[in-house]
Amino acid sequence: MILTTVNDSTSPNFLTGYRDAHLVQGVIKQIHQRITQPWTIMEICGGQTHAIMQYGLDQLLPAEIELVHGPGCPVCVTSLELIDQALWIAQQPDVIFTTFGDMLRVPGSNGDLFSVRAAGAQVRVVYSPMDAVKIAQENPDKQVVFFAIGFETTAPANAMSVLQAEKIGLENFSILPANVLVPPAMHAILSSPENRIQGFLAAGHVCAVMGYWEYPPIAEKYQIPITVTGFEPLDLLNGILHTVIMLEEGRTEVENAYTRVVSYEGNQSAQQLINRVFQTVDRNWRGIGAIPKSGYGLHEAYKHYDASMKFHSTGIQTEESPLCIAGQVLQGLKKPYECPAFGTQCTPQSPLGAPMVSSEGACAAYYRFGRKTK
């Protein structure tokens, strides 16, 4: 792939069409016109939280709208036992542990991947699971493990890495399966007795893979409108506008405000890839707890690519500290600045909780973009 130079002398004005200030003001105006009462809306995805904070979109919305930040940051919700397994596996002799960069700072019970790398472990940042397969090919005398985290978005590539390893007969490649799924988390949030979410912005990139056929039953069961929403300022505001209109009209439907990327069925071949390699399993979410059938584990036929079996890494004693309110933040019950540690003991360079680690984590987004208070 080549990134071409559009205008090398460029570009004081780098904003694309979906960031057009004039169009944004237009949608804001419509939201103000349509809203008549307070509504609480959750954006599921951490990428959306990040964009809202980055562009300060919450500063433009009417006071009636409360945006609640959902658990859609894979770094934040990857369970402590999986992080601890990752740390343990990375420290085994002759292991090259590969991971997306975000995971390096996530604290386990006792240390993070940065610490184990500083202590001599081979931890490498990759940008795609296929890079990990390549590293395995190039290092036949090492065991190469890929930390397969993410939502449905990363699952096809994670599945592909396993199929690729099988195709070329790699015996020194395995993954630590950690994918989590959005719809079960929505079920769990909506069925909580403490739930106060009245509308959802569904994560556009998850829907690009999975479609949105899973959402109408949720909208119907919990009587809640859901809008498939993208990530640019105009996309986000459009998603909010759709949701506000449905709320004001008393409709509990699923609408797609990200049609340029998302179809109802989603990416069929990606879904087939996922279904071939993975099966749904119960999974623990950090800060939330166990959610049934909310993760992808490897099918029986591919179990020999499961690093936790290869390295017998299950059963590690984990220990969370009682210092922050990450759990409540991830469920949208608390705002990051309501945590007493926020911005003082807990900062991106010394995170107490996972939401402070990733740029998609709600706490980090608040911290980075200076939102010490609402």
């Binding site: 130079t5 002398s9 460029t10 562009y55 975000d102 980075r368």
Partner: protein, 359 residues
């Protein structure tokens, strides 16, 4: 998930958070990022043991004085550990000369002499070494400086990554120039001498890990002539700083803290090349935090801003110079970015190492 599955409501587990990892026991890669962790390392370890009034100045170079001639001198040192050693637009040789020349120039000095120390891993290609030295010589000629002392150490295979170069440099500060991060004044204008993020992306891309190619080149260059022209015409310049590691945002935050002022930026006026922006979008980087090696931030009184931009633009390294913001006393120590939508966000220092987002 099918509708027949029993859905367990969420039970709050109670506060769940891991123990903090402050990385106080070992040095980790983030300590070298140029951001907050680097600052913590300097304050907690280096300043405590070897701190003095000169290091406490907190600028790119230290200002030292002699009672007799030559008066005021700027002195600076910088180690270069870039990986890979060669990348589009430059290499470690050009970087090691430019980096130190620029640091000395940022105090208003005219850089004159450098020293160079080489730590070479055994097995390093003699050809590559020659190429790097040719590049250093060319850059010295361009900058009008000479390397007057040197040192070479060879270490065992595995004890270094190919080649590390340390350079130190010094130069005399002409009378009438008083430039430093502590001198920003409310009412001043903030200028950047060109597009940001080129070096950061060029180096990352040269590592071959990004999965794409581009025409992005490092901006690495010695800026001393451009700066000397500027200061000769406008000695009233308050601050010069090159936004290297940590990028524009971290550097401005340092200046805001040093001068106890707030710096206000307009996002739309900050020049970012389209291909750099595209790469950042793909990787989840913010160009405001990417390294530059051939750019300077100029802060000076408003009435001198147009003249300054004109002078900068007459240098090949400053053709895209533009005004990006202003200084005020509203919110001391903070850098505030106004977005295209009229909203505001606070820019903090880079925390640790820049990490790509995953999705």
């Amino acid at each position: 998930m099918s509708q027949t599955d029993p859905i367990k409501p969420i039970q709050i587990q109670g506060p769940v958070c891991p123990l903090p990892h402050h990385h106080t026991e070992t040095v980790v890669i983030g300590h070298g990022s140029g951001g907050q962790m680097t600052r913590d390392l300097i304050i907690n370890i280096f300043q405590r043991e070897i701190g003095n009034e000169f290091l406490a100045q907190g600028n790119d170079a230290a200002l030292i004085t002699f009672n007799e001639a030559p008066g005021r001198i700027a002195i600076s040192t910088d180690s270069h550990v870039v990986s890979p050693l060669f990348y589009p637009g430059g290499n470690i040789g050009r970087l090691s000369v430019s980096g130190t020349v620029n640091d000395v120039a940022m105090l208003g000095a005219v850089p004159a002499y450098l020293t160079a120390g080489f730590i070479i891993e055994e097995g390093f290609s003699m050809d590559s070494l020659k190429q790097i030295l040719i590049s250093m010589a060319e850059t010295c000629r361009e900058a009008g400086v000479q390397i007057v002392a040197g040192d070479t150490k060879v270490v065992e295979k595995g004890s270094a990554d190919g080649l590390f170069i340390n350079t130190a440099g010094f130069g005399i500060i002409p009378e009438g120039r008083h430039v430093g991060g502590q001198y920003a004044q409310p009412g001043d204008v903030v200028i950047i001498s060109g597009s940001i993020g080129d070096h950061g992306i060029a180096v990352l891309q040269a590592r071959g890990e990004l999965g794409f190619d581009s025409e992005i080149k490092s901006d690495v260059a010695p800026l001393n002539h451009m700066i000397n022209d500027l200061l000769t015409a406008i000695p009233q310049v308050h601050v010069l700083r090159d936004p290297t590691r940590g990028g524009l945002a971290t550097t401005l935050k340092e200046i805001a803290c040093q001068s106890q002022v707030s710096i206000h930026l307009e996002e739309e006026s900050i020049p970012v090349k389209q291909n750099v922006r595209t790469a950042c979008e793909m990787l989840g980087f913010d160009p405001l935090y990417l390294a530059n090696e051939g750019k300077v931030i100029v802060i000076l009184p408003q009435e001198k801003a147009d003249d300054a931009i004109q002078i900068l633009k007459s240098s090949p390294y400053g053709v895209m110079s533009t005004r990006i913001g202003y200084v005020s006393q509203e919110d001391p120590g903070n850098v505030l970015l106004q977005t295209a939508f009229g909203t505001t966000r606070i820019l903090d220092m880079l925390a640790g190492e820049i990490l790509p987002r995953i999705c």
